[in-house]
């Protein structure tokens, strides 16, 4: 059954790579690099 674990990790890695390809990492940077007013309970 170990193949299931490796499949899961492979899918997770593929999802990260797909997200990076779609530009999600840059979107993370844009979200995180501005002051999140919601994080402070305002806005």
């Amino acid at each position: 059954m170990r193949w299931m674990w490796w499949t899961g990790l492979g899918l997770a890695g593929a999802a990260v790579a797909l997200g990076w390809y779609l530009g999600e990492a840059t979107q993370v940077l844009m979200n995180a690099a501005t002051v999140c007013l919601s994080c402070m309970g305002i806005g």
């Binding site: 674990w5 997770a12 797909l18 979107q27 979200n31 995180a32 690099a33 994080c39 402070m40 309970g41």
Partner: protein, 294 residues
């Protein structure tokens, strides 16, 4: 050793100490990457992105992403959370989370100590479903965007860490409203509770812990129990800070993977910290003993 790892993790995740002079948060390329633990990215010192905040931001933008065909649906953060969970389960909580580390420090304050009722552990799944997933996804504005409701209404780590901005940016003080006071009340409650109970926030409210906990059963880092070596002394049960019996439930979602039971408490080596994909076939029931003459 774990406390040193926690301290180093907290410092590394919050390594931007120029903020008192720049009077703003870190905005460099490291924030493309998520941290495994709960660490608000509006903390002035934070250099990495909070995975839970990131998850909510993507869920809040699902409808516009589909409408405009960008398809930025959060594959990045879903994959990240799954990978962290599959590798360590809740080890990210036990070893890397700065807010968990803070609560452990608070718990060292001398005071009467109380248990956290086990039934409250289910609350974190409700918080995950409602505040971290449901509301950001479905409670949308006219343009189709939702909001990170867990950050806005609950997250005590965000209140504590991002609260420093109120001193750095006085203009923000004019915007203090009801939600902030609710969050401050929650933070005070969590801090007080952490003095008298061990990591209560992690065990009852944290949606990130809920996600990682669901993967404890399949994580690469695990606790193994060898019943042939076990003398049933119960020291592991006494040592477990979250009230588990590691002999019988080493993979429970509540286990923070601190590994105290295996590395410090067990005198016979019956409990061991192991690394490697679990052989799931071991969970199948044992065959009945053969009868003589059969």
């Amino acid at each position: 050793m774990r406390q040193w790892v926690q301290a180093a993790s907290a410092l590394l995740q919050n390594a931007y100490w120029a903020f008192p002079w720049t009077r703003t948060i870190y905005q460099g390329p490291l924030k493309k990457f998520c941290t495994p633990g709960l660490n608000c990215y509006s903390c002035p010192a934070a250099v990495l992105a909070c995975p839970l905040g990131t998850l909510q931001h993507f869920l809040a933008g699902w409808r516009p992403a589909l409408r405009w065909g960008t398809y930025r649906l959060g594959f990045y953060v879903f994959g990240f959370l799954a990978a962290v969970g599959l590798l360590g389960g809740r080890a990210a909580c036990g070893w890397l989370c700065p807010f968990g580390f803070l609560q452990e420090g608070l718990h060292r304050i001398p005071s009467p100590k109380f248990r956290v009722p086990r039934i409250l552990g289910g609350l974190r799944y409700a918080v995950l479903a409602v505040f971290a997933v449901g509301l950001p996804l479905f409670l949308t504005g006219p343009l189709g965007y939702g909001e990170p409701w867990f950050c806005r209404a609950i997250c005590p780590a965000g209140t504590l860490e991002a609260g420093g901005l109120f001193f750095l940016m006085p203009a923000l003080q004019e915007q203090i409203g009801l939600w902030l006071w609710i969050k401050i009340g929650l933070l005070v409650g969590v801090v007080g509770w952490a003095v008298v109970a061990y990591r209560p926030y992690c065990r009852t409210l944290c949606p990130l812990g809920a996600i990682y906990g669901m993967l404890n059963r399949w994580s690469l880092l695990r606790v193994d129990h060898d019943p042939d070596r076990c003398i049933e002394c119960g020291r592991c049960v006494e040592a477990c800070r979250v009230g588990l019996d590691p002999r019988r439930e080493p993979d429970r979602a509540a286990c923070l993977r601190c590994l105290t039971c295996a590395t410090q408490a067990c005198p016979t080596g019956a409990l061991t910290a192991a690394v490697g994909p679990r052989r799931l076939e071991r969970r199948t029931p044992c065959a009945p003993p053969s009868t003589p003459g059969s």
